[in-house]
Symmetry: C2
Subunit: 253 residues, 2 copies
Amino acid sequence: MDEETTVEALTRLGLTTYEARVFVALQRLGTGTASDVAEITAVPRSQVYGAAEDLQARGLLDVQQTRPTVYRPVSPEEAERRLLSQLESVGRDAFGYLADVRGSVENDEERSEAIWTIRGRANVRDRVIDLIDGADDRIVYGTPRPELLEDEVLAVLTEAADAGVDAAVVSDEPSVLESVPADGPVRVVPQPADRQPEVSTARVLLVDSDTLLMSVVSAAVGDDDQEVAFWSAGTAFATVLVTLSEELIELDR
Amino acid sequence: MDEETTVEALTRLGLTTYEARVFVALQRLGTGTASDVAEITAVPRSQVYGAAEDLQARGLLDVQQTRPTVYRPVSPEEAERRLLSQLESVGRDAFGYLADVRGSVENDEERSEAIWTIRGRANVRDRVIDLIDGADDRIVYGTPRPELLEDEVLAVLTEAADAGVDAAVVSDEPSVLESVPADGPVRVVPQPADRQPEVSTARVLLVDSDTLLMSVVSAAVGDDDQEVAFWSAGTAFATVLVTLSEELIELDR
DNA sequence: TCGTGCTGTTAGTATATCGGTCACAACAGA
DNA sequence: TCTGTTGTGACCGATATACTAACAGCACGA
């Protein structure tokens, strides 16, 4: 992470480019005047004053009212706390309102048989966790890649298993099975190596008899792998797919 | 909190106005097509597609690849978690870098005798907490207004007192003193009502023998009160001011 | 006392992002 | 085949913001 990237990150947290640059420069300086700041970063001296005023209003720096004015940034840890807690409180209000109005518009169209798609590994993982959370009866989680049995997933699996749900991890890859604690409540089900359900499947998740998620990783897009998943719950589709998947997996209870 | 405010809040969390409107509309709908969304919110139908794509990339909605395409937002709680954790990780990187480069530029100018000013009540409160955290020996915190003895401040006072620091709250206002638990480690020191140190003082904080913060509330600016504070630490100024303040306060140990 | 350089403020320009409109081809159902 | 809807892309204009320039105090020294 270099300075430019840091400035960009700070703008994503709500600062303007000038504010971010001034703040970073002041961190490097410890304390400094507008001229000091303008010297070591690409902000015109005359613009430092306005940016600093804004930063002061956000609680990110203190001001020494002398001539010349001297600025003193709060510590990075302090700044992180303040910025994030400001954003959190903004978020609390907004999402509270959303929870209120949720589903407030009638939607005559009955969208049954829905199959939803998700892009991005983190997003897929979050949906997996969501679906596991809703399990009543049993869960089957399969992947040939150890990195796709994330800690968070394993945690909710364990949690569900502790709550009485039959939870199993299946794989043809020993390293995946080994990452599940042997003495824990989550079962492991090895698969024969020649029995690949789908060639490029990244994850399979079955929950109860009517919920399924399946993902693939396409190496094509951009630099890094792009995981794409689809899922369905409470639909006939899902039920059929779950049954199908079960047949492909040797599930010795 | 109405819809417009919510949209604004979401933009502060990094969404564009269109993205925010689409997301809010989908919460109200449950699920919906681009046309559904365009109907109940001020986003041209043609622009819904792009906004939804972006929201999908952020993990805020799933997509049903049918014709017409149907969108399904994640729950508000889920969305809040994802947005904030995205921002947090952005922040972690940035502030990690800042902690590295901190003070990396030599600053020959010795800025001793610094007195720093702070604007905004929350910012003042944070600095108060910061200074209390650094106490070794004793803390005196005075205010005539019960709302300026915030819970967070009382908490760190108690924490410090538990750690062996002599912590005292002084006030001429009984309601302030009553908000300090009588059986707790923080002492209370009543002041005679006629003994106002400074007419409009909002807070006084003394830490050890060389740190002081003092704030006033000016009713002039804008609609709400604007608290302004100054503080100094480790300076001769501070030492003198601490001594001065002590004389104005009847500190019977 | 009169420069000279620095400080802080303000007006002003340029540009890029984003909100908003329009046109159109692909598609589905009648 | 006709018609309304869908999804895509080009286009425009306004606003925010990065950036420039000019200038009036103030400090300090010749």
